[in-house]
Subunit: 101 residues, 2 copies
């Protein structure tokens, strides 16, 4: 079972909140912090922690700016993130397909 590998599944992406972020951004390209927070139904602190982990991996970029006086944070998927997400989905697919032979 050469294809059966849990190691091939990137743990940085696999975490449920981070998977949600990546799945959201793969389509949206860019999302506001509050938009993500409400889509994922997580707390601000929880989302921040996971975004930092994705940022450290180079999978998302975080841009802070102001809209008038209000701080505004936008999260964007990087091309490395897009590539990693594609590889993640393939690894997941292989795991499940190789198991269901």
């Amino acid at each position: 079972m050469a294809e059966f590998s849990i190691e091939a599944i990137d743990d940085v992406i696999h975490g449920r909140v981070r998977l949600g972020v990546m799945a959201y951004l793969v389509n949206a390209e860019v999302a506001g912090f509050n938009e993500l927070k409400s889509a994922l139904q997580v707390t601000q602190g929880n989302l921040s922690v996971h975004l930092r982990k994705l940022e450290e991996a180079g999978f998302v970029g975080i841009e802070k700016s102001f809209l008038g006086r209000k701080p505004h944070t936008q999260i964007r998927m990087t091309s490395a993130g897009r590539e990693a997400f594609r590889a993640y989905l393939e690894a997941l697919d292989r795991l499940i397909k190789s198991a269901s032979r």
Copy 2:
């Protein structure tokens, strides 16, 4: 985005080792402890912890017996486990599909 829900993804199954166990068993129905350990490339302690969690959730049954004098542990997927795995895959699929619209 009603379909976009990370909550729908069962955390008991989502953990990488447990996902590997479930993916393996959904096809094999039953597997020996050492067979699983080698397929997943995890340590005995690590596998034991995750099997206990799956057993507590009612997703696998663990049968201990002896082959001659050697202890032999077999792990079997329960019908509740099969149903939960099916629901898990559907939730994952929805998350990714609803995100990629």
